[in-house]
Amino acid sequence: MNEMRTLILDTAERIFRDICDQALVDKAEKGEWPAGLWQTLEESGLTQASVPEERGGAGGTIGDGLYFLKTSSRYVAPLPLAETLIAGVLLAEAGADVPAGPLTIAPVRKGEVIEFSDGKLSGTASRVPFAHGASAIIVATSAGLAIVDPESVKIDRDKSMAGEPRDTVIFDGASATIVGSVSPDRIWELGALVRSVQMAGALEGILAMSVQYVQDRKQFGRTLSKFQAVQQSLAAMAGQVAAASSAADTAIEATEAGDTGVAIAVAKARVGEAAGIAAELAHQAHGAIGFTHEYALHQFTRRLWAWRDEFGGEPYWQAEIGRQVARAGADNLWKFASRT
């Protein structure tokens, strides 16, 4: 890891540890914007870590931004960090300046199209993350990439099961300027990438919580960690978490190298599967306390359950890989799988 990345991750770790606690996440889920956390991250240059300096960012690579995102998810930071990262990448690719403040992107669901003609937008995007409160919505329209002022569109608020804003944005009649081109599937692909990375971070979080909990909690006169059944269960969970983390890191490295191949598809499919299995094991290890609102585990597991279905769940990406494998043919399967 280079010096820049070490600095970014150390700074991030310190900020999240100091500020991003269970109470802050709880308040954010109830609708209170964590302005202090956002401001601290933005002032440290972390919210636009991978945007070039001349475009308003910190000048890191996309890998820097993605590993920062992984760290943020170990603390379930309740901010549109992933969406701001994608927006920054799209704008930088289009050669446009990146506005300050929290950003989001639209559309995020397959089949939704935002039309652009005569300077006006039309169409509706649903389940847009953190649309209200964003300083700009970066929209992949039929005519290219547009920067849209949230004040100029109608926003119906809703939330995911994780308590994260997922709003419906009605663009009809709003004006916009096209700042560059964007391929239609780019948001979808970057979305799958960031959710994989976020899930991998949250999975590391629930493994650490579970390991801590079974060492603290005593039953039958000994800590839960002394029971072989509990040890075996947590070891199985560690296997899922290690696989998820490896798949996410591989996707990050491939993106950094500019040749993603199927790495993002593999990551979303594999991490999504690990999320369900590991969340189940984490709750089982925690017993009843893990099912309460008072204890923080649900802040992680509700996000895992929500994120695994966004930007294509496991079946979508599995089928995508499967069709590519089938087209390549049986005798090329190994070449396909060992492509490095």
Partner: protein
């Protein structure tokens, strides 16, 4: 390196040199191993003075994964290449290295692992085979069990007790010795597996003489030596490719225009394989850097062997063999994968032992 191995395998296969199969460690072809050795693919990390190529551990990874992915019968030389040779390089005498390594590299000396015994499976520290001091060497009495391919191997590296059990420290008093399986005093008996195949053996030692020059490393240091040997055994490509040919034939069976359900199934199995490969390569990198990634290696073996077992279970649901689709190769691979599956999470450390090691790595024990 990859291109060189692929070219050899394609040419050898095309010339009818071998048939593709699964659980390649259990499949052997002495002639193939000799060709493989003569092509320079055994002991490639070992120093040139013994006939090796002085290449990196990651080069070796590429060579072994290509052989396994091609379903080549690598069983005969497998143990010598993976662990006996490295053990001799690490703990053996110069005389032992010169005596054995060139023959291993040439594909002419095959080794097996003499660890388990009738009353000593997962609990390796309970081995009982005794070595008593005699003039010029040691006399062995006892039985080894589950020894893969001992019937075709020339040598075994046996873990024996050179002093009685110390209840305070059961890991004391063990030593490793090279056993010539063709010498008098050892009887190799077959143990047939559930498919009726001869892969395992039982060896009964009666006053078997081991000369001093065949002791590996320090007398009494057997436990530490064995533990370092096992790290190489856990995380290699063999733990993720045992049923790969079933997946290959499933892809062939499904064809180039799969249904949604078929595409999901092969896509899922491929995603798992690619992820496991990334994990396994990363452990190989740590081993190459001289680290001892015990927990990471155990994780790869646990997740990898579970995956290998899942492949035939998924395949049979997607393409039921009794539907008689006519691809007999698919049905053959599915059958062998189903029959070998139980062994995958037992050999080289059971699932329970591995998860215990992982739990220790997590700080739970």
């Amino acid at each position: 390196m990859r291109a060189e191995v692929r070219a050899f395998l394609q040419k050898d296969y095309a010339a009818g040199g071998f048939g593709r199969g699964q659980e390649a460690m259990a499949r052997y072809d002495v002639d193939f191993s000799r060709r493989w050795g003569q092509a320079g693919f055994i002991g490639i990390t070992w120093p040139k003075q013994y006939g090796g190529r002085g290449l990196t551990f990651l080069d070796r990874y590429v060579v072994t994964e290509e052989a396994l992915a091609a379903g080549a019968p690598v069983g005969a030389h497998w143990v010598a290449d993976r662990q006996s040779g490295p053990l001799l390089l690490k703990y053996g005498t110069e005389e032992q290295r010169q005596r054995f390594l060139p023959k291993i590299i040439a594909g002419e000396a095959f080794f097996c692992i003499g660890m388990s015994e009738p009353d000593s499976g997962s609990d390796l520290a309970s081995v009982r085979m005794s070595a008593t001091r005699v003039d010029g060497g040691w006399k062995l009495n006892g039985t080894k069990l589950w020894t893969s391919l001992a019937h075709i191997c020339h040598y075994m590296i046996a873990l024996v007790r050179t002093s009685p059990v110390n209840p305070e420290n059961r890991h004391e008093g063990m030593s490793q010795m090279i056993v010539d399986l063709k010498a008098p005093g050892v009887e190799v008996r077959p143990v047939y597996n559930l498919a009726g195949e001869h892969h395992f053996n039982q060896e009964v030692f009666t006053d078997y003489f081991v000369p001093d020059e065949n002791v590996v490393g320090e007398i009494g240091a057997g436990w530490e030596q064995v533990m370092s040997e096992l790290a190489y055994e856990r995380s290699g490509p063999e733990r993720i490719l045992s049923t790969f040919q079933t997946l290959v034939e499933l892809v062939r069976q499904v064809g180039d225009d799969p249904s949604e359900v078929e595409a999901r199934a092969i896509g899922r199995l491929t995603a798992h394989l690619m992820t496991l490969r990334g994990m396994s390569v990363s452990v190989a990198g740590m081993l190459a850097d001289g680290k001892m990634p015990v927990t990471e290696a155990a994780l790869v073996k646990d997740v990898g062997t579970n995956y290998c077992k899942e492949v035939p279970e998924v395949a049979r649901l997607i393409c039921p063999p009794e539907d008689g689709a006519g691809n007999s190769k698919y049905e053959k691979m599915l059958k062998t994968a189903t029959l070998i599956a139980p062994s995958l999470t037992i050999q080289g450390g059971t699932r329970e032992i591995l998860r215990g090691m992982i739990a220790r790595g997590l700080g739970l024990r």
